[in-house]
Subunit: 233 residues, 2 copies
């Protein structure tokens, strides 16, 4: 959402929402907005202008709503059930904002929402709440606040897609330094899969995939315990 939300500028009945996963090497979090004076927590979302590509609208909108620039967002599912829209919640958000309620009545209708997700390192960015929101914060995936509308279903589905695909995406998403230890690689897997893995089994599985190059050892303390460094092929 931005400052001008005039009905004629926007596609009616279409919105987007974004699940931005943050990761610091060991813990997986999600970026959540809290709306002014409503107690409503939500994923960052918005609307699509009539003369703008869907992907562009999402890219611009997420950057405005979160203060984060250049996030690579991937579309994962479109949520179209009739029961998902909640005009009461939307009305409260608008009433507590500086926007004119009458101008915003088009937002209280039914919306089909296109879901996007991203995966970034939350230690490298500082999200900023937009004008509609009190705060924007990272929450661990196992202790999210209660989210509005179907946003919990959106998170669950995004997590499912992330877990199914992340092995293929690990390289592109810059979640690890260029050279990393087997332990760091295991921590990424454990945080995203949400479960502890056995070190020996994990190491054997990774080495059998033929995706890693072994480099020099990482010397930090006792030389005989130094782990090897790896990079992706």
């Amino acid at each position: 959402m931005n400052n001008r939300l005039e009905k004629d500028d926007y596609i009616q009945n279409i919105s987007y929402d974004s699940v931005i996963f943050g990761f610091n090497g060991t813990q997986l979090k999600i970026l959540i907005l809290e709306y002014h004076n409503t107690g409503l927590f939500a994923l960052p979302g918005g609307f699509v202008k009539i003369n703008e590509d869907l992907d562009e609208a999402v890219k611009d909108g997420v950057s405005k709503r979160t203060g984060l620039e250049n996030i690579y967002l991937e579309q994962y599912h479109t949520f179209g059930s009739l029961s998902r829209s909640d005009s009461t919640a939307m009305r409260r958000i608008i009433e507590e904002s500086d926007l004119d309620v009458k101008d915003c009545e088009w937002m209280f209708g039914r919306f089909i929402s296109v879901g996007y997700y991203a995966l970034i390192n939350y230690e490298e960015v500082s999200p900023k709440p937009d004008a509609l929101s009190d705060s924007i914060n990272w929450y661990p995936i196992d202790s999210l606040p209660k989210l509005m509308m179907d946003h919990e279903e959106m998170v669950a589905k995004a997590l499912q897609v992330l877990r199914a695909n992340f092995e293929n995406k690990l390289i592109g998403m810059n979640l690890l330094p260029a050279k990393f230890t087997m332990k760091q690689l295991q921590q990424v897997h454990e945080a995203i899969l949400g479960e502890k893995l056995r070190r020996t089994t994990f190491q054997r599985k990774m080495l059998s995939k033929d995706i890693l190059v072994r480099h020099e050892k990482l010397f930090q303390g006792k030389a005989h315990k130094a782990p090897y460094l790896y990079s992706f092929k």
Copy 2:
């Protein structure tokens, strides 16, 4: 689309399109409609009523447009670029139909389209064209007619998703009899991947996956050549 297409009943600017893959054990085809007197070929698609779930709209609409009942459709991508809409093509389709052009002007705007795909056995069904179409036919994936708007991109993306996921879906999609030979399993893979596979490599890979149960031999001719039958675990 159905007989009544009044503007107020439908969500403006949202449509769906379906890529229905047909498979007979050895060849992969796609179901394509041709519109009356236009030379326009297209995927079966339609619109979403304001009071209906997206998934339900697609299920009902595809069944009306193709004459095929109870197809399991899966959502795979939403196409939202500004350049994808083509009001000229839509206008020609409506002009050549029995519908009133004035009633249908809302269809000439910009549409974001949600893509669904399905995979069925084309030898078990008889598609029927709807009132808007001259014909509905199965086309082999490597010899499709030129498709309207971005429907070729929709097919390419659906094929990509199908190829990435079909190993997980083979069991649920009833593409093989309950018991099948290794050769039948290989033919499914070859048709969907669009390439020939080496018999020995394929067999070793399948057996190493621990997804098959071996049963009795299939006796058809010479007993010493009879292949084993398998089923999924």
